[in-house]
Amino acid sequence: MILNGVTIDDEFAEAFGMKATRVLITAHTLEWAHRAAASATGFATSVIACGCEAGIERELTPKETQDGRPGVAILLFAMSGKELARQIERRVGQCVLTSPTSAAFAGITDGEAVPLGKNLRFFGDGFQSSKLIAGRRYWRVPVMDGEFLVEETTGVIPAVGGGNFLVLAESQPQALAACEAAITAMRKVPNVIMPFPGGVVRSGSKVGSKYKALQASTNDAFCPTIRAVTASQLSAEIGSVMEIVIDGLTAPDISAAMRAGIQAVVKLGAAKGIRRVSAGNYGGKLGKFHFRLREIMAS
């Protein structure tokens, strides 16, 4: 499949079952909601070492939030509900509770309820109080700028993590420009996040390493500077490869995000130095979700 001069490899992205929740963070201004959200989703690029993968899903208008203030929706993903619950509590406790004027609410009410403010309330040292409003419990925790309002629980549901595609370009600036265009398009898709910095990862990995202590190492087949000494998958004209990783609440959400992103890449086309789009997988044996590039782009 060749679209606008860009070859779409006959490959598939291999993704895994995860657990996810959405937290709605509001504040006095959208800027402060963003600050709290950015902090809460920081250092959350990969479950390998961060505990969870998290990112900002979208901005919320005052009409969309429970307290009528501007807000930001974040999504958090982890390999187990238990680890996700731990991460939610740490991140909301250290990054949202601490952020001026903030409040935090459940963005998912289905699934298993895990603590959001249920334990954070004890920061109130006995001065906290609860309100049961429309069947949902909220905690009012006194803090120095007023009150931190937080919903007691948030819902954890099954989700999908690790959708991806690779952008292969003639040069580093061209690969970066294509990925930026892709991320701009993908951020309009609901229920997904791209957890790496700016949504883009340049250090794609393979399973295993020559060093026994490491579970993963650089994806040498896609590293242009060592193509002379590896089983490279890069032809001579490829000078840079970047990857976009997608976590989504459902498989169709990831498919929609991949389609939007690849369409944006293809739109730049060969004229802008984009030669191929590929995907990362482990032979199909590890992850139960397979996203075939050509099927996604043909649908």
Partner: protein, 271 residues
């Protein structure tokens, strides 16, 4: 929705206990069976069709016409369905109900919504004393749901209230929110003497400043409380002023007390 209509033939000399006539019980009966049900009045039991004319279709909707203050326990213990009363009702309206809705187009007697756990009660007229309060011997009053009184309420509204929202568009009498344990009691009009006396936790939300507060309440200052936006949004579908409460821009003075009883309750007064 089709409903069963019970029209009171004449005002009874003694109070009637209507608590057996809840929608979920009547839904499976025919009109003759409903007419043959017996309800207590004084030390006697009387057939329903001796007191009411029975019409309409039995189901989860019940309409009581020509109500009066002798009709006690209307909707008490109901779990689902809807009751509409045209006229007044006596004491214990919706007491202990765990679901469904009650609309009274008239006044209600004492202890309305006492022990209520879930559902909604609307009273277009006035409510008597002990609205949402604990009955003698009970540890807790209202424990959930929403009660909206378009008129005024008597003394001791919300006494020992534990959870839920009690909204009074008119005035509330003395000792409003006394011994309150938790929940939200909001009064749009004025309140009588000693509001919040002995309250432990919970919120007494006032739109007007009372003449005086008990000396065991201390002021914490004036704030725009975020949680009030959630309450305002939850009440948005209600008729009357509470349904129009702004979600933002309001400031409330916060008085904490009763310091003689743990002191974690609050009286919020709109400024």
């Amino acid at each position: 929705m089709s409903s069963l209509r019970l029209t009171l033939k004449s005002r009874p000399a003694q109070a009637l206990d209507l608590s057996p006539l809840v929608p979920e019980r009547l839904a499976g009966l025919s009109k003759p069976e409903i007419g043959a049900l017996e309800i207590a009045t004084g030390n006697r039991r009387v057939r329903v069709d001796q007191l009411f004319s029975v019409a309409g279709d039995p189901g989860l909707a019940l309409e009581i016409r020509d109500g009066c203050d002798q009709l006690q326990g209307v909707g008490a213990g109901m779990t689902q369905g809807a009751i509409v009363v045209r006229g007044d009702v006596g004491a214990y309206l919706g007491a202990g109900m765990t679901g469904g809705t009650i609309a009274v187009h008239g006044n209600a007697g004492a202890f309305a919504a006492s022990g209520m756990r879930e559902g909604e009660v609307r009273i277009t007229g006035n409510a008597g004393d002990f609205l949402g309060a604990a009955r003698p011997g009970d540890h807790q009053g209202m424990r959930g749901g929403v009660v909206l009184v378009s008129g005024s309420a008597g003394d001791r509204a919300g006494d020992r209230m534990r959870r839920g929202a009690l909204l009074i568009e008119g005035n509330a009498g003395d000792y409003c929110a006394s011994r309150m344990v938790a929940g939200t009691l909001a009064v749009w009009g004025g309140v009588g003497r000693f509001p919040g006396l002995a309250m432990r936790r919970g919120t007494l939300l006032l739109q007007r400043s009372p003449a005086a507060l008990p000396p065991t309440f201390n002021e914490s200052g004036t704030f725009p409380f975020t949680f009030l936006a959630l309450l305002a949004r939850a009440w948005r579908n209600l008729p009357g002023p509470f349904g129009k409460l702004p979600e933002s821009g309001l400031q409330y003075r916060r008085f904490m007390g009763d310091l003689a009883n743990d002191g974690r309750g609050e009286i919020l007064i709109r400024v």
